[in-house]
Subunit: 345 residues, 2 copies
Amino acid sequence: MQRSSKKTSLGPPQKPAQKRATLKEVAKTAGVSLASASYALNGTGSLGEATRDHILQVADKLGYRQNLSARAMRTGKTGALGLVLPDLTNPFFPTLAQSVIQTARQRSYSVFVTDTEGSEELEIASIRLLVEHGVDGIVWFPVGDRNTAGTLLSGVPTVVIDRTIPGFESIQADYAGGGRLAAEHLVQAGHTSIGIISGPTDVLSMRQRCDAAASYIQQHGKLAYRVVNAFSTDLEPKVKEAIRSRAATAVFVGADLIALGVMQYAQSIKLKVPAQLSVIGFDDVPWAQMTSPALTTIDMPLGEMAAEAVAALLRRTDEQADLRRKIVFDTALVQRGSVQRPAKR
Amino acid sequence: MQRSSKKTSLGPPQKPAQKRATLKEVAKTAGVSLASASYALNGTGSLGEATRDHILQVADKLGYRQNLSARAMRTGKTGALGLVLPDLTNPFFPTLAQSVIQTARQRSYSVFVTDTEGSEELEIASIRLLVEHGVDGIVWFPVGDRNTAGTLLSGVPTVVIDRTIPGFESIQADYAGGGRLAAEHLVQAGHTSIGIISGPTDVLSMRQRCDAAASYIQQHGKLAYRVVNAFSTDLEPKVKEAIRSRAATAVFVGADLIALGVMQYAQSIKLKVPAQLSVIGFDDVPWAQMTSPALTTIDMPLGEMAAEAVAALLRRTDEQADLRRKIVFDTALVQRGSVQRPAKR
DNA sequence: CAGACGAACTTAAACGTTTCACTCTCTTCA
DNA sequence: TGAAGAGAGTGAAACGTTTAAGTTCGTCTG
């Protein structure tokens, strides 16, 4: 893949640069006071209908656009929210980000999106910057469960997604329920010997999924193995070994990304999925339906969760929130092609 | 997929809300003037080393954070950029967004990300809002090639990505070159009868890819068919028909997403990819390596392009830019599993 | 030793809004 | 007829910074 030359060429003409009209200018050319202009544009105060219309017309003619920085100075509200994410290219964050952005827009808020690259240091820097921008609220998907940056955001309303950080309102999916759902599905398909491949266990939500699955499996059959892999399609030796051992006819994998790696590895060693190894994932990332076989997995309503996060944030502007609150969304099984009954023995 | 119940439970305690210290407070408790405090924190002006250190210490102790809105009022620079995208969940935008965010951060800028949902109306609304926020620059991936919102952003430095809109500096990949590269690869693999499945043709960059491919194919073999499909994995009847006709042993598809649909459809009618139909895509979206067979495609350096866009934007702050400039990045062939020599006849 | 100069620091204006408090002019009603 | 009140509008302060212009004081120079 050779590349990276950059060519430059010339295209069509220019556009004019022009200073934006201020409210004062609108007031002056409309022949009213600054206050009246402000009242007219905000629809507040008590103005005659005629004057109001006139002012609005003038504002329109001048192409007036409000200056939110100035307004923020006076009112303390910037009309901006912050979204702090570990890694935008990780396939379930775009869904989340989109939903946050859309629900924010519906309420005329803009969203600063930051990507912390999985680093707590950058997370701190990002939050610091958001605070300096004076955001009205932050939706935070922390890198880990530790409260690294929490102290920084003095007084800024914050909702944590997916993680559990003491002192913060939190939005989560029912991870334990999802893990149980997955295990149940495998058991009902007739599997009795089931393995678990977990993602990194330093995050509570991952432990919850796998613990719930494990306990269900132990009650209804045999837990063949339980191993841990990094959050990646590359499998670690002991994980490969577990798969190769064929001790299980089905595996519950804690994350779709890893599940993909599992399917690829299985197929590479001529283990048929799902005929010889059923695989069920967790997350329902967008490409889960594009693998072959399509991945059966557990979905969580990321979009709804994000929307709820924004809603919770904006609710706070008015009432005083209960920061101890924890909102949990249901997960759901989405059945595709990577699970089937085990072969007769 | 039944779901959407929401449970609420209570967790741990509170955090205190506290007003941020202002520069004036720092000045007062340090026993200096407002100006000195400002100079100290910005490292400007001429202050004695002792006073400066003292002020910084006080600021630190008070947990002082600058108020960027206020600063913006005075300086006209908000330290924010805008990124306008049609659809965050479309798989190549996250890469782009991440890169914009990262390079922006390296220069201490924050990024407002907006998702216009492919609608020109929302595009206009978004840009309007960004202007009101006073962003120092906008990276714009327009919905189409029409200059819908361009007039709104009076004076705000803007760089357009991927599209061509008169009057704007533009960053593009060498789409024609990429199309040729793809055609060349198919021809070199021995194909003589090649089809083209294009994406929506209302966008210049799509026409460029396919035109270039078509003209290369016509020079070196036979253009079996050329059909158009929406930007989706669902294929339209005439596209399916073209594939079913088996008039071509290979197809160039204008977008990876559509290419995926092509592979799925081909396999569904028992056409082996690549044995009976070689497929080459365009974009190199992240999941292109996860399909089976893995998709051979044309990559464009989205990350670099995004970084360059931000750089170009920030360059403008100082010098006066040449708005007619157009920067073109090279594309590259990335060979994977979906292309092979045609079967002997 | 006068004058100039530079270093260190302060004063105050300005950026574009919002909003409280106020004024003025009519109506209305007792 | 006179007071009250409502309706329509204005004046000016305040938000938290930056920065040009000014002040003070000590030191250097000729």
